[in-house]
């Protein structure tokens, strides 16, 4: 099981270590540092690194490497998933997961890690349970604690821990009972030079924020559940009911949680909400290149495309870019060669464009690679897959809750090749 954890910051310093079994010397991280040195980019460090006596499994989140040390055969995904859970927990507790936040809360961090694993076995990883055991630090609580001498640590066994619904604590009480669901879809796509779609798929999630008194039993049904043939559920969802009736039936955890995630594969037709017209060209022997880019909406069901951000890694030979943006602002970093253009909202009447020239090193030959254009965008009130919630019902409690559903489509890894 998981032996130890080291947190390493971007400059390669270990700033926290935690051991769940015997202490492993931090020199074991030397193997990690070697791999780090070899990697061209910070994210290119291989996730599993063998050393003579241990294996190091690492994830990079928020510019911190979480390096887990294992000694016996442990499923690597188990370790990676656990590390993700650690990151999520930190974020949940401290708002952000940064080196500074972790150092500021080092004792809470330590208490949390101790509570999450016992001898390398996961103990309590549900945020609800952890919060009952160790109260998240707030300024108010710190002040109160200092005055009254009370502690951050829960004195009672968390109620949910052993019930059949371990994700929910009992005795939840709210004056305003509300249940909100966000359907968020991300499109991952590769568009080729000519504008045709090579592959496009949708990663969707339904995130919920449920603040309901007592033990509510919810059912959520869809207009078109057929779309959901590849789903991953929160443990609270009753799988049998879904199999039989395509209805989500569950007793929700208290607070924020991810109800389900789904995947609409490239075999289905995925609508592509934006198009890009581009002309990025270099001529042999010339020290200038042309750059033209126009964006336009497409298949957006009449909704506005917002928060558009275009970025592209220009070839290494490009010295500078002299461009003109019809809207928004662009920046070009001559060191990393990263061009980014903050477009904002696409106005279908007046399409945003970015045009101009790129200067190359004099005498350098024409770059071999074609830059890829990365696009980010958001579309409110639209789930691009067409998924629609039909109704939400509550059983088991008497009151009438507020209910709300929000839809949003975002670009995931949306790439246009040139």
């Amino acid at each position: 099981m998981i032996h130890s954890l080291f947190l390493v910051n971007a400059s390669g310093d270990i700033f926290l270590e935690k051991h769940w079994k015997s202490v492993v010397s931090r020199s074991v991280c030397d193997y990690f540092f070697e791999a780090l040195e070899r990697a061209t980019e910070p994210e290119n460090v291989p996730p599993v690194i063998p050393t003579p006596h241990h294996y190091l499994i690492n994830v990079l989140r928020h510019r911190i490497y979480f390096v887990a040390v294992i000694q016996s055969e442990v499923p690597p995904l188990f370790v990676i998933e656990f590390l993700h859970r650690v990151v999520d927990t930190f974020q949940d507790y401290f708002g952000v997961c940064t080196e500074a936040a972790i150092k500021d809360n080092v004792v809470v961090v330590y208490e949390l890690l101790e509570e999450m694993l016992d001898n390398g076995f996961p103990l309590a990883t549900e945020s609800n349970i952890l919060k009952e055991l160790i109260k998240p630090p707030t300024i108010l609580r710190t002040v109160v604690n200092t005055i009254t001498g009370s502690t951050n640590v829960g004195e009672q066994l968390p109620t949910g821990q052993l019930s059949v619904v371990p994700w929910r604590r009992t005795g939840v009480k709210y004056t305003n009972n509300e249940a909100y669901f966000d359907v968020v879809e991300e499109i991952d796509a590769i568009i080729d030079k000519s504008g045709s779609t090579i592959t496009a798929e949708i990663q969707g999630v339904i995130d919920a924020c449920v603040k309901l008194t007592g033990m509510p039993d919810l059912t959520l049904s869809f207009m078109n559940p057929r779309l959901l043939d590849d789903v991953s559920f929160h443990p609270c969802v009753r799988f049998k009911r879904w199999e039989a009736e395509r209805i989500l039936s569950f007793i929700p955890p208290d607070g924020n949680f991810r109800l389900l995630s789904y995947h609409v594969s490239s075999q289905n037709l995925v609508a592509i909400p934006v198009y890009v017209k581009h002309n990025i060209s270099f001529r042999e022997g010339s020290s200038q290149g042309r750059f033209e880019l126009t964006l336009g909406p497409k298949q957006t069901m009449g909704k506005a495309v917002e928060s558009v951000l275009v970025s592209s890694q220009l070839p290494r030979g490009v010295l500078n870019a002299n461009l003109n943006a019809s809207q928004g602002t662009y920046t070009f970093d001559p060191v990393t060669k990263l061009l980014s253009w903050d477009v904002g909202k696409i106005n279908p009447q007046k399409l945003p464009s970015l045009k101009g020239t790129m200067s190359l090193q004099a005498g350098a030959s024409k770059p071999d690679e074609n830059p890829t254009i990365n696009i980010q965008f958001k579309i409110q009130q639209l789930a691009i897959s067409g998924l629609k919630v039909n109704r939400l019902d509550m059983y088991g409690e008497k009151y009438k809750p507020f209910k709300g559903i929000k839809y949003m489509t975002k670009a995931g890894k949306f790439q246009v090749r040139t």
Partner: protein
């Protein structure tokens, strides 16, 4: 600490609110200050002090000197303070064992606390303190906690047993904790079950042979029930444990699969992959024509695809596993090619894995898409990735024949880019394409030759030289090209030198008149000026061949090359099977068997340290699938006597393009042609040309005397060439046609097909051995596993001559029935191991039971009657034999040929009743009654036997005999 103090300075007042204040002690007397605070009367101050101590600990500072002071704070009713002290204890108890004993009392007291949280905390912490003296005190509280009324305490205690076992395994056994732990598998609380399974699995890991997790249908049922209710982590433990179980039959297998499939929809990817492992393993047992089998296959694809939309680290592990799954069951993901398309900002380790899987999935249906993608990748920035993409194009050409032409033209396009490393990779793969499709794409040679100068990598140079040598007759200036390489001969790598030597010899054999000087030059460079034994030895053998027998030389050097296989980097099937059982583990990430790198038990050092974990390349993930270096120079120079033998071995070992493989048609007769053929053409050259003569004359100085004479060489070559001839197949009565028992894919190129026959009372196993590999196979031997009727080889496997590539030998192996007996499932299953010089291969086949019907199987009438009555009716089995158009006499005669004897015949109302007896080699009698209605092609067969399980197989024999 400097950074910490700086940090706090920067924060000024704000730091008051946060834990970073715990780092703000002055350097001088820091420990002293803390000591004072720890001993303070004020609770609040104490707690703050302990927090400071913990903060120092987290950054790896040694605060062990404060041990007694911190332990003093332990007795408190403040839970946070207690927890903090426990944290400290766990870290430092080991270094202060005598002090740690002070804490025992509090622990024992806490284990009795009314609050289950505190009871659990105490037992948990105690288990983490690796001090023998404390461990002794742990046993009693632990025993109580294992039976605690609160499941939270029980589940914590279960893990504690694993901890204790880690510290003192003997103690755990002596105290009977293992049995208590096993009992917990039946606990009412699923979380307790999961933790008990996890603890037992961990303990079992250090006792590979112990039968700790005794899985039987009852426990499996309990685990499956707990699976639905426990936490995600518990599900992983349970699924991994389930994967070790072997279901009794396909029905049980299916029911487990049905209960595991819902886990495929879990949000935790580790749960998903563990479920995939269970399903992949148990699927093996399901019959392929079962509807459920197809359903299951369909269910597996979506979760695997979903794993690829996760974070890159998860993707990497998933991809490594998908690589295995695709090799085992390509049908699962054959329609999902697109999800493996590479995004330009994927981390490199993800890109390379995706590429590999793309090639594995490439087929005629999707090749156009794949090629378009690969071409796109070849223009990316990352050199490693671009290289692999180019190589992938070549692999596609070899894998999908229809695409070869497009691949070649794509490669030519890429060569036109003149990007140096792209050109070099392209040339390396084009060489393989030439090998696979000879005489098809040679028109591109001219383009390749244009790039000769830009090649600076050995592999690319060697590939180019091979092409020039192989197609010397079509390249006008082949001699000039090769000569240009020869100039810097000694600076080239061994790979290039060897290739150059072979290429020039080929050139010489093709254009002897113009290239003598060249060949002489290279031979002398290789034999006299080189200290690489590989090169020298190859030089000598060419020299010898050329000087004694140019015809043979031509036959050898220019022999037709065996085809290269489609997929060179497939994982060997037995390893693949093993790895499939380890999906989701480190083994599956490294594509190595777990035995290769998992530590036997914690605390024990590696018994076998893996070679790849040296500090130098420790962080590099080992490139799996590639065989070891093919050109390792032997350390010892072979002694003179057996030099030639060694040369031959050396040359045959590495399967490089240049290794001549001898066709079976080569006979010793070739030696008779000494005077003819090339010789006449070369006659003047060898004898007459003074330079050549001098060169050959000079050589023996370095050559062993024993090899000087032609006879020795002749003998050596004779061994090499004596490959032909097979054993004739004896003829006999009807025998089922041969079926393939061992496909070449599974046995490194050895294909075995065969059948069984009984000829004149002797049981024979007729086999055809077919060598589909590139190297010669020798040293065949065979062995059977114990089987139901004690079949065993009566003699050794008679394969006297080596089996050369593409050759087939038929052998008949007489069998005896005196071997060891073990009941097999099915009854007539025979597990066979065949060994050759390459490896040992296993397969199983089924023999017809008629093999065992003995000739004296005719029973006396009276005995028959008595026996028939004697055998209980329960043992009677009835079968229908359909579509037989024989009358009773003909049928009876036919059966007699297979030792099924008709004892009596009765005719009742137009129905013939035949009473028959059969005796098996092991003395079992089988009685049968066959009813034949005139005009009805369906016979009814009733079989009675004291061993009813054979009835089914006897019936099969009847059917087989009557229908053929």
């Amino acid at each position: 600490m400097e950074w910490a103090s700086q940090l706090c300075e920067n924060r000024g007042l704000g730091s008051k609110m946060t834990d970073s204040k715990y780092f703000t002690t002055t350097k001088k007397g820091e420990i002293f200050e803390l000591k004072a605070e720890l001993n303070s009367d004020k609770k609040e101050k104490k707690k703050e002090a302990v927090k400071k101590v913990i903060a120092s600990m987290t950054v790896g500072k040694d605060v062990s000197a404060l041990f007694p002071d911190v332990v003093n704070c332990m007795q408190t009713d403040n839970l946070e303070l207690k927890k903090l002290v426990y944290l400290y204890l766990m870290n430092y108890a080991k270094s202060q064992p005598d002090m740690a004993i002070m804490a025992v009392n509090t622990f024992v007291k806490d284990c009795e606390d009314p609050n289950p949280l505190i009871r659990a905390l105490a037992v948990r912490t105690m288990g983490c303190i690796r001090v023998d003296k404390i461990t002794e005190y742990l046993c009693e509280p632990l025993r109580k906690c294992l039976k605690d009324e609160d499941p939270y305490v029980r589940k914590t205690a279960a893990v504690c047993v694993a901890k204790l076992h880690d510290i003192n395994a003997q103690l755990v056994e002596d105290q009977g904790f293992l049995d208590t732990l096993k009992d917990l598998i039946s606990d009412s609380n699923p979380m307790v079950v999961a933790n008990a399974v996890a603890a037992l699995s961990e303990i079992a890991e250090s006792h590979p042979n112990s039968n700790l997790l005794d899985l039987n249908p009852q426990t499996i049922n309990k685990l499956l029930t707990a699976l639905n209710e426990c936490t995600e982590w518990g599900q992983i433990f349970i699924l991994d444990c389930l994967a070790n179980y072997t279901p009794r039959d396909d029905r049980e297998s299916q029911s487990i699969c049905e209960r595991v499939t819902p886990r495929l929809s879990h949000a935790n990817s580790a749960v998903v992959l563990s479920a995939v492992k269970v399903l992949m393993k148990f699927m093996e047992m399901l019959p392929k024509d079962l509807d459920y089998y197809g359903t299951l296959l369909k269910k597996l694809a979506p979760p695997l695809v979903t794993l690829l939309s996760a974070e890159p680290e998860l993707q990497y592990v998933a991809l490594r596993n998908i690589n295995l799954i695709v090799q085992k069951r390509p049908e699962i993901l054959k329609h999902e090619m697109k999800v493996f398309f590479v995004k330009y900002n994927d981390p490199i380790y993800v890109k390379l894995e995706k590429l590999d899987i793309m090639i594995r999935l490439a087929s005629q249906a999707n090749i156009a898409q794949v090629l378009a993608e690969l071409k796109e990748y070849a223009t990316e920035v990352d050199v490693d990735f671009v290289r692999k993409a180019v190589r992938a194009i070549g692999r596609c050409a070899i894998k999908v024949e229809q695409s070869a032409e497009r691949c070649v033209s794509t490669l030519l396009d890429l060569i036109q880019t003149k990007v140096n490393y792209v050109v070099q990779e392209a040339i390396v793969v084009i060489k393989d394409i030439f090998r696979k499709y000879p005489n098809k794409y040679e028109s591109v040679i001219a383009t390749l030759c244009e790039n000769l100068d830009s090649l600076d990598e050995p592999e690319a140079r060697a590939a180019m030289i091979w092409i020039v040598g192989e197609y010397a007759e079509r390249i006008d200036n082949a001699d000039e090209l090769l000569e240009s390489f020869l100039e810097g001969f000694h600076d080239e790598s061994t790979q290039v030198q060897l290739q150059l030597l072979t290429a020039i010899v080929k050139l010489f054999l093709k254009k002897p008149t113009e290239t003598q000087e060249l060949v002489q030059q290279v031979l002398s460079l290789a034999t006299q000026d080189s200290d690489n034994p590989d090169l020298r030895d190859r030089g000598y053998i060419y020299w010898r061949l050329l000087s004694t027998d140019p015809v043979a030389a031509k036959e050898v050097v220019l022999a037709e090359k065996p085809l290269i296989s489609e997929e060179t980097d497939l994982i060997e099937p037995t390893l693949l099977e093993e790895l499939i059982c380890h999906i989701g583990t480190l083994a599956s990430v490294y594509h190595k068997p777990p035995s290769a790198f998992v530590e036997g038990s914690r605390g024990v050092q590696h018994k076998r340290l893996p070679a790849r974990t040296g500090s130098g390349e420790g962080a590099e993930s080992p490139d799996v699938g590639q065989s070891g270096p093919s050109e390792a120079p032997p350390a010892v120079i072979p002694s003179q006597g057996d030099l030639l033998g060694d040369l031959l071995n050396l040359d045959l070992a590495p399967p490089t393009a240049t290794v001549p493989s001898v066709q079976p048609s080569m006979q010793m007769g070739a030696m008779d042609l000494l005077g003819g053929g090339l010789d006449s053409l070369l006659g003047g050259d060898i004898g007459g040309s003074p330079s050549m003569g001098a060169g050959l004359g000079a050589a023996p100085a370095a050559m062993p005397a024993a090899l000087g004479g032609a006879p020795a060489v002749g003998g050596g070559l004779g061994d090499l060439f004596d490959l032909g001839g097979g054993v004739g197949m004896p003829t006999g009565s009807y025998v089922a046609p041969k079926t393939v028992w061992l496909p070449a894919m599974k046995a490194k190129g050895l294909e075995i097909s065969g059948t069984f026959a009984r000829r004149g009372g002797i049981i024979q196993m007729d086999m055809s051995l077919n060598n589909k590999a590139m190297s010669v196979m020798t040293d065949f031997a065979i062995q059977f596993n114990r089987n139901s009727f004690g079949l065993a080889p009566a003699g050794p496997l008679q394969v006297l001559t080596p089996l050369s590539p593409n050759q087939t030998i038929d052998v008949s192996l007489p069998l005896s029935v005196n071997g060891p007996v073990m009941k097999m499932e099915p009854l007539n299953n025979l597990q066979v191991a065949v060994k050759n010089n390459i490896d040992v291969f296993y397969f199983s086949c089924q023999y017809p039971l008629s093999l065992l019907f003995v000739e004296d199987g005719k029973m006396e009438r009276q005995v028959f009657l008595a026996t028939w009555k004697d055998i209980p009716n329960d043992n009677e089995a009835q079968f229908q034999i359909k579509d037989i158009h024989l009358n009773s006499d003909a049928a009876s005669n036919k059966l007699q040929g297979s030792n099924i004897f008709t004892i009596a015949k009765r005719t009742v109302e137009g129905q013939d009743m035949l009473y028959q007896s059969v005796k098996l080699t092991n003395g079992i009698w089988i009685l049968a009654e066959m009813r034949i209605q005139t005009g009805n092609p369906n016979y009814t067969l009733s079989i009675k036997c004291r061993a009813p399980e054979v009835a089914q197989f006897v019936y099969q024999c009847y059917e087989l005999v009557l229908k053929n």
